[in-house]
Symmetry: C2
Subunit: 335 residues, 2 copies
Amino acid sequence: MSPASRLVDVAQVAGVSLRTASRVLNDDHRVAADTRGRVLQAMRSLNFQPDAVARSLRAGTDTTIGFVVEAIADPFFADVIDSVETAMARHGRPVLVASTRRDDARAQQVVQRMLHRRVAGLILAPTAGDHAWLSPDRVPLVLIDRPAAGLTADLIDIDDRRAADDAVTHLIRHGHRRIAYVGDTSSIPTSWRRLEGYLAAHARHGLPVADHLVRPENASSREAAGTMHDLLRRAAEAGDGSFTAVFSATTRASVGIVPVLHARSRTDIAFVGIGDFAMAEAFTPGITVVDHSGARIGEAAADRLIDRLTDPGRAVEHIRLPAAIIQRGSGEIRP
Amino acid sequence: MSPASRLVDVAQVAGVSLRTASRVLNDDHRVAADTRGRVLQAMRSLNFQPDAVARSLRAGTDTTIGFVVEAIADPFFADVIDSVETAMARHGRPVLVASTRRDDARAQQVVQRMLHRRVAGLILAPTAGDHAWLSPDRVPLVLIDRPAAGLTADLIDIDDRRAADDAVTHLIRHGHRRIAYVGDTSSIPTSWRRLEGYLAAHARHGLPVADHLVRPENASSREAAGTMHDLLRRAAEAGDGSFTAVFSATTRASVGIVPVLHARSRTDIAFVGIGDFAMAEAFTPGITVVDHSGARIGEAAADRLIDRLTDPGRAVEHIRLPAAIIQRGSGEIRP
DNA sequence: GTTTCCTATGTCATCGGTGACAGGGGGCCG
DNA sequence: CGGCCCCCTGTCACCGATGACATAGGAAAC
């Protein structure tokens, strides 16, 4: 393996100075046509490729984009990463990924690491804690999915309150009066907004909310499954603990709940969840969801970040992407 | 925002030379205890963090690891990426991801880009084409999921032939004689080995293979769903086109097939697929699969790469991870 | 007391490019 | 024909760290 050739080698072969070769490399117009030709020829013959690290050092900033989420394997975030990477690849920008596991300290650590790598920009799905340590003037920043406490920056999300309200209203319209809520930790704005939507839909229809049917704080699919078991048990024990429909506030929760309902053959209970998932249409009945496309969010975030890199001065924007109900059957079951 | 402090600033505050500060930073033992103390104190007071780009330039190599797969959003690869990132984070190594969309040219491009960034090592799920352009002496390299044509490097995979053989044998033991094969493009070793396994199981049991039941070349879940529809239609038309079980060679295909079977209420047809997926246990009957854990593969790949970075001279290894049948019902249906 | 050696620290060059600025040479103008 | 300007190219310094090598000063050895 011959060592990678450097720009000096090119310059020498072309018989020009390093600086001139550099100008050709950077499409500087003030280079005579034939000189440019010789340099380009030399580059080809040496199979020259510029060293990104050296350029980054001189430029003071890298071309790489950092992407920080709580879990890469989460289907929603995997979609987002995929579309961000695809969009960034079009601009020749590599993407660094990191996961936080919902741990504030870890989030801070991985972000700091990226900053020391001088990433050109960051896309971040914030954790629950305060993010004042991350000053947005320090690096171009786009948030996804939820705002970050103590941080003003571009944000791409869906209207969580409304998505939940729509889902619950859908169930109410189909005749349900006692609807269980199963959701994620309400320390995250995404989650409490969905809970708000659930409550708002009830209030607007003059329906009371039974406290024992509201079950936030399910951090994993497993916990959600446990909660579902518990809800069913209570409903069986006491007549007044009953419910005819379930609203799941997150995909994670849905993936726990649906198997429980099916394992118990409780297809008499209506179900609507936020977040689509693979195979949702494969059940009988199909699973009705309010979908927010990860791919769309990723694309919007990538576009926004590229814009901000081009023109750092622009005003902070909050982009709301639409979320719509996909009716597949489970949400249209009547009590 | 004060600009990030540099090592010279630290040196100045501590009243030592740049070089001495550098020695402290690198735990060089030949520094007097009190000098070290002053420097560390200065680092803390300036909140100093070394510039990773400058270090990379000087060192000739970056600490970053590159990860290249065909699609980041693929559930299997998302698992792998997640575990690789988690493992690498423990070693303080950032991870760059890139997707190839199964396009050789694109694969070559993203890998070259990573090399120009001087990544410390690469983990690669090869595409179908020839990979001779990527010399393994150029960068520490670990392959996952399948070998690469024209390339000798560490490889982490499962025994695809055997996994398929096991799955099909499982069906045969449950009394099936006519088993359909639905799989992915057979240009990829992963895929044709699974087809081999399917054929081998039949041969060992003295069973003939009906050509019209062997359906490779389903690149997407959608195509697999179409193929399943077609198989069912033919079986309904001609008596001899019938089958009592389906073997799906990839998760992608399974995700297409299962909904079709359930939509048509064909739960009389047995099913076994390679690759587990979310909700597989939620169906009635649950979906029997041969599982190969993406997390395990990612962890093994990360460990292997770290080993190779530590000791570049080691012999190339081929690590086979176990894959085991998870019986959930669909594979235990009798004809 | 001188030589030797070692410890702690410093100076200089370097990694591979790019910014700032200088300067030679030809064309155009007065 | 001198002066001005512009086009093209070159020299030098620098981005932030580390490798190679040098050196002051004291301890150990003779």
